[in-house]
């Protein structure tokens, strides 16, 4: 690894001050499963590493029927994956957490870290966006809340200003008859980076789709919503025809690139296949 200086701030303000002081030379360390890899692979060379694990109050995971799910910046993917309430109410998120790296990685990796790394293919982002999640941000100028779907500005880039850090994720409670599903597409059954990630959260009313959110990963510079596809289904019955039409629409909404993991054409085609599959599975979950 490359040499760096190491800090263990005891409060958010202290952390924020360190980030301001060292600017681009500083990197935040929570789980470390991305940061340490990036340092070792020479993608980043921070002079200062700021470990936030000693800051109190960032490790909670709570749920109540009114406010939904809240979890702090130190909550690991493994904790999300195994929390009964997440499995029951946020099936897409639980599935995405379950497919992130290995169990060893998930015991260290935090979901907030997964968010802040802002990789277009990050697993937890599509389901969180489909769930309508937002993030709480602490910074030199105080706190603010940003909807997760507005948080990303490009690969590895977010709206965070210098000195700001994400402290918490808030996810609204699901309405009755809501079903969710996440499909990660890769060549292997584990240890993959998604070539396409599709998350769907939908709510049924009688036989029609009252509301639906479709979020796509790895097919644009940031995770995106397939808004036109959603609009095509909102208020409509979900059947083979409407689902197929929406899936085709979603194909038109994504902007994939080609790389060693897959061509743009293939990714686009998979958006079509997987959006349809995810809607069907989410509908089954909605009961």
């Amino acid at each position: 690894m490359r040499r760096f200086e190491y800090h263990e701030p005891a409060s958010l303000d202290e952390a924020s001050a360190l980030l301001v002081r060292h600017g681009a030379d500083a990197s935040l360390l929570a789980g470390g499963t991305d940061l340490l890899v990036e340092i070792k692979e020479h993608l980043r060379w921070p002079q200062h590493v700021v470990n936030v694990k000693k800051i109190p109050g960032l490790a909670a995971l709570e749920y109540d029927e009114r406010n939904g799910l809240r979890f702090g910046a130190l909550v690991t993917a493994r904790a999300i994956e195994t929390a009964a309430v997440v499995r029951a109410r946020y099936a897409g998120l639980a599935q995405a957490a379950r497919e992130l790296g290995s169990i060893q990685v998930r015991h260290r990796a935090t979901v907030v870290g997964n968010i802040c790394r802002a990789s277009p293919s990050a697993d937890t982002l599509p389901p969180l966006i489909a769930d309508g999640a937002s993030v709480r941000i602490h910074g030199p100028a105080g706190g603010r809340t940003v909807a997760l779907e507005d948080f990303f500005t490009g690969p590895g880039r977010t709206v965070l200003a210098p000195g700001e850090l994400v402290t918490e994720v808030v996810v609204p409670p699901p309405a009755p008859r809501t079903g969710k599903h996440y499909i990660k597409h890769g060549r292997r059954k584990a240890m993959e980076l998604a070539t396409v990630g599709v998350a769907v959260a939908l709510t049924l009313e009688r036989d029609a789709c009252r509301d639906i959110r479709i979020a796509l990963g790895a097919v644009a510079p940031t995770p995106i919503r397939a808004r036109a596809a959603e609009a095509a289904l909102r208020g409509r019955a979900l059947d083979g025809g409407t689902i197929a039409a929406a899936a085709r629409t979603a194909m038109g909404e994504c902007r994939p690139i080609s790389n060693v993991r897959g061509s743009a054409e293939y990714r686009r085609e998979m958006v079509g296949v997987l959006v349809a599959r995810a809607i069907e599975r989410a509908r089954e979950g909605a009961g």
Partner: protein, 762 residues
Amino acid sequence: MSRVGSSIVGTSVKRTDVIGKVTGTARYAGDVKLAGMLHGKMKRSTIAHANIRRIDASRALALPGVKAVLTHENVPRVLHYGAPHPRSISVTCDQYILDRKVRYWGEGVAAVAATSEEIAEEALDLIEVEYEPLPAVFTVEAAQAPGAPQIHETAYAGNVLFKPVVVTRGDVAQGFAEADLVIEGEYETGRPTPAYMEPNVCVCQWDNTGKLTVWVSTQAAFMVRGILAEVLGLPLTRVRVLVDHMGGGFGAKQDLFQHEFLCALLAKETRHPVRMEYTRGETFVGGRSRHPCKIWLKQGFKRDGTIVAREARTVFDSGAYGSHGPGVTIVGTTALTSLYRCENVRLEGRCVYTNAPIAGAFRGYGVVQTYYALDIQMDEAAERLGMDPVELKLKNAVREGDMAPSDHPLVGHGLEDCIRRGAAEVGWAALRQRPREQAGTLRRGWGMGCEMHGSSAYPGIKEQGNAIVKMNEDGTAVLLTGAAGLGTGAHTALAQIVAEELGLAFDAVSVVHGDTDIVPWDIGAFASHTTFMVGRAAQMAAAEVKRQLLQRAGEQLEVAAEDLEVRDGVIAVRGVAGRRITVRECMGPKLGIPAANLVGNGTYTPTKSYSFAAHFVEVQVDIATGQIDVLQVIPVHEVGKVVHPIAAAGQIEGGIQQGIGHTLTEDYVIDPATGRSLNAGFVDYKMPLSLDMPPIRTILLETAPDPGGPYGAKGIGEDPIIAIGPAIANAVHDAIGVRFRHFPITPEQVLAALKEKAGAAA
């Protein structure tokens, strides 16, 4: 030679080498830590083909903690073999420790020793290299085109490594003239890598007598000793190579990889021990892959399925250095004379330098590529002839007396036995008749593939296996062997053979290995030959000790040695109850008489034996995503004599993992424009993992023992990686009616092929 009721050979005894592995005490080269040890790192080129115009290490040397920097300007310039088999035709002599020229992206151009890894790494950035770019070629076509840049001056012609190999038997033109059906196809194979779990590593230390000691992860300790001595100008008494445990090699760790020389030189220059350990990325970039290969294959068939002619041209991409290019080309190409019998054959094989990563020896050595083509074409022929592929392959399977690729007659009917047994096991005939899924997106298919593979590198190399067996005065024995322990359980198998031959308990035999100053010379662990060749040498050495032992017992019992037999540690007079003495009593000191020094030496120069296999595979294809899953594998292997059933099955299961990877997901990819590595890591170099691997039901047959091996045993290391590939491709064809002639077969290609098929049908 083989004796009835053998009790140790054929039993899964507890592998002696494993206790250290499960407790964390087994020592690998990277575990060696010496006082004052420095850390070495290599700087690698960022261009695929260039002359080094200027290289400046002054800023690196100025970094505190940096103890030495080596560049082409201050290392000996000795042209040497990269894969130092003793002057064999299998390998090329085309390397320098560091050259003035780089021939692939990632080639080492300098090395640093520093007090910590971090400092060494930082120093690499401070070494300035100015390149004069040369045109680069990344395909065999480009490398052979007129005006292509010449990569090596030592090449046979242009970028062709060595004089292309041509094999002819019978009259091909005549054969094709008699054919009712002629099939011709082009086949192409990818660039999988061995991806052993232990990255390359070595530790070097010089003592004050000028002797170099090297701890290194290698399959061929004596080859490392020989080439280090040669290049560094040392007598063999001044180089000692130590290999205790090693974390896999799969063929590739027969080569030297630059760092062994650099590590030795850095240790010499700094007068400190130095460790050089590759990162995972470096094991890809600076490692060895399988040779990507293009195969043109044409066969003629009679209506009844008889093959009347076979013609093939193979072109192997060696990458930037020759390594095992000639050997792989010769073995892979000549393999096409066999497997399925044919009297009229014409084959041509060539090997070409490119500026791609270096290809080297890898389990299956050229045969993986050519049998992939051959077996798939057989499946296609069966379809066109309206025959069952099992029936067609059985009809043409090589058998007793047929000429093997090594030009000597085959023993037994191993291949036919494998095919028949596997077909019965899976109920092949019924499978062919089963109804096919129409609904949904999942389609299932069955396929089978065959292979044969030789134990030992004969006739390319006239190999030699050696062993020494010594008796201890308490009646136990020690085997000294130079064979490396790659993890195959070879040492256990050798100890089993010695115990069996000596009539001792398995626990009464210990194994000493891994020190070139102590153990007998060994050519290295490769070519599936350890059990076959070194096993036979061990058996001979044990037999020699036994002769001496019975001589001594005869004197003590006052009978002729010929009348004695030894079993379970007891020497008895044959047919006479009660006249017996334990081996311990026989060996031990008597009043005033010391224990005897009984030593047996065994040297064995084998030809070759062939092992056989047929793999039966079920796959499932998702026609919407193109994803292929292997659902189950039933591998049937004929190996002559199974020495250790669990270890044998373990070899097969591991080979199948690699073969599934080759066929479906693994491919080391370079940028076609720059030669830059694109997936040098385990995220994007995709080996099948625990969840991807199907159930494997291994069947071992002992129906064609080879008189050249101990108790009839033949090799098994390479076989399992060969048959699985065509079996999968044939199963995919069965599932979706698309014939793939390359690997890896990607989901994108499956979808494209399905569309093409639908378009053609419409």
